[in-house]
């Protein structure tokens, strides 16, 4: 089961062969527990510390600032809850943006029950927060601002350096979710001057099950898991040694090749930006036109539902993602697309193409060849397209499910 071309790198990247090779001994003979004192254990300990250095180098951080976790969602939880609880005495107000990942936004429920208050910042039509609004939202009891580095659904990059400066001027901590940014743009923790930063290995050709919360040295954190000394007590539990070793290797490779990858991704994405609109009418590209992640092409194909597009492309061996309600388990349209003002009916037509280093011009050619007939077929079934062709407003509806005919 392998697609001919894979355009869903935001959700998972193929594991680099060198990475897998580095991991294998730790799934086989080098199975020791890093907390054990014998040589087998200490060998695993050494491997983890090497991985810590490799991973730290990727974001220009001191190794002791790296806390290994199992997923970006866990890192986001550790950051928000861990910092909120640690700095509770100082205040109870937290600021987020409306387009954060659900692993940030969903935490507001439990944290509100613990007495925390939230301000959710709106974003503009490109998905950018307003710095002046941020500064105004900071109150004397504000302890933390959490705003993602870049958004995986629309590609928009936030001005994190400026955000950090505003936060620090007002003595507020700044956490940023870098899951989408890492592996696509250079990240320098010192230059951003971020206090906490989330990212995971599967964003840069590493394995699943390994992620990081970067925590600036000197920052306090209340652990979510208790009962162990691993990660200096901040994230107890036996380490996933193989995955961590894999992340270290992946980080090293990423650090070395990122400039080349960026060039490649930009060139392929440019092809799509230029060539798709010449082949398919009524496309709505989303996100910021220039301040965006390399290789993230997000758009809405009007009058066609996203999951139907995804399924049809999958049949052709092309793997993509969509933010439509039908493709989400929650059956809700992407909160990111709605937050940037895309109407519900158009958000249903979302198509998300996240390119990777191994994508080729042939991959792009295949997509450019296969997508137009698929769109044409689905549009020929679509009542919205029929309305559009008749010159009517395709998006004028009676609200809700209409059962009134039945009741008559």
């Amino acid at each position: 089961m392998s697609p001919v071309c894979y355009f869903d790198h935001a959700n998972a990247t193929p594991i680099n062969p060198e990475v897998l090779e580095a991991m294998m001994p730790f799934l086989k003979q080098n199975f020791g527990n890093p907390s054990s004192l014998h040589r087998l254990g200490q060998y695993a300990r050494q491997a983890i510390e090497t991985a810590r250095q490799q991973t730290a180098r990727l974001i220009n951080a001191p190794p002791d600032a790296i806390i290994f976790t199992a997923s970006a969602s866990e890192s986001n939880n550790l950051a928000l809850k861990g910092l909120a609880l640690a700095y509770r005495a100082k205040g109870n107000h937290i600021i987020l943006s409306a387009i954060e990942h659900i692993s940030i936004l969903e935490q507001t429920k439990s944290l509100k029950r613990l007495g925390f208050e939230f301000t959710i910042l709106d974003v503009d039509q490109y998905g950018k927060i307003n710095l002046r609004q941020l500064a105004q939202a900071i109150k004397p009891n504000t302890i933390l601002v959490s705003i993602m580095h870049a958004n995986y659904e629309i590609g928009t990059i936030q001005p994190v350096k400026e955000i950090a400066a505003i936060c620090h001027e007002k003595n507020v901590l700044f956490h940023s979710d870098g899951t989408a940014a890492i592996g696509r743009i250079p990240v320098d923790s010192k230059e951003i001057d971020v206090d906490a930063y989330t990212f995971s290995a599967q964003s840069f050709y590493g394995p699943k099950g390994a992620a990081v919360l970067y925590l600036k040295p000197g920052t306090r954190l209340t652990p979510l898991i208790e009962g162990g000394f691993q990660e200096r007590g901040r994230r107890p539990g036996t380490e996933n040694v193989a995955a961590i070793v894999g992340m270290g290797k992946a980080a090293e490779i990423c650090h070395r090749h990122l400039p080349t990858w960026i060039q490649h991704l930009n060139r392929l994405a440019q092809r799509l930006y230029h060539e798709l609109p010449t082949r398919i009418e009524r496309l709505v590209f989303t996100g910021h036109p220039t301040e965006r992640l390399p290789g993230v092409v997000s758009l809405c194909v009007e009058f066609v539902e996203g999951e139907a597009l995804l399924l049809s492309l999958d049949e052709e061996g092309i793997a993509v993602a969509s933010g439509s309600a039908c493709s989400a388990r929650t059956l809700k349209a992407s909160h990111v697309l709605l937050a940037i003002g895309i109407p519900h009916a158009i958000a249903q037509s979302s198509l998300l193409l996240t390119l990777g280093k191994d994508n080729s011009d042939d991959n792009i050619n295949l997509l450019l060849d296969r997508l137009p007939p698929i769109v044409q077929r689905l549009r020929s079934i679509s009542p919205l397209y029929a309305r559009y062709l008749r010159g009517e407003n395709p998006y004028e509806f009676k609200t809700g499910h209409t059962h009134q005919d039945k009741e008559n």
Partner: protein, 178 residues
Amino acid sequence: MYSEKVMEHFRNPRNVGEIENPDGIGEVGNPVCGDMMTFYIKVENGIITDVKFKTFGCGAAIAVSSMVSEMAKGKSIEDALKITNEQVAQELGGLPPNKLHCSNLGADALHAAIHDYLRKQKQHQTGCRCPYCDQPLGVDQTICQPCNTEIHFCMHCGQPVPKNAAVCPKCGEKVKKE
């Protein structure tokens, strides 16, 4: 995720399109809630002789529309009204739990088209006729096709009245000039 039957109907949906001058139209859902389906039916002697549909929606929604159209074709109105959402899902070899609402829309759209047909029939039978040439008038018609005359309706009883009548011949109320 989907059964092979669902995928097959998604790939090759039956009865896609619109019917010119259909006997009934049913439109349910809207893209805000995810899917939108429009069903068109042709009815002869109480039998659904033709069904066509257009659907904006996910794979399940398209497959469900296709299956409903197949199930309804050739059935009597009474039998078609008995088609349930569960039957549709069953015929498709099951649907993922979070997609069951798509199958609800399918049967609803068909039933809406049938009810639309029945409503028109009822109006037809109550004898809405052109006051000039006595031919039957359609539901929303403001111009009588056979004699090409603009029709005015009584504000009180809703019946068509001759253009220059001062009093409605049906209910006897004064006809207001617009």
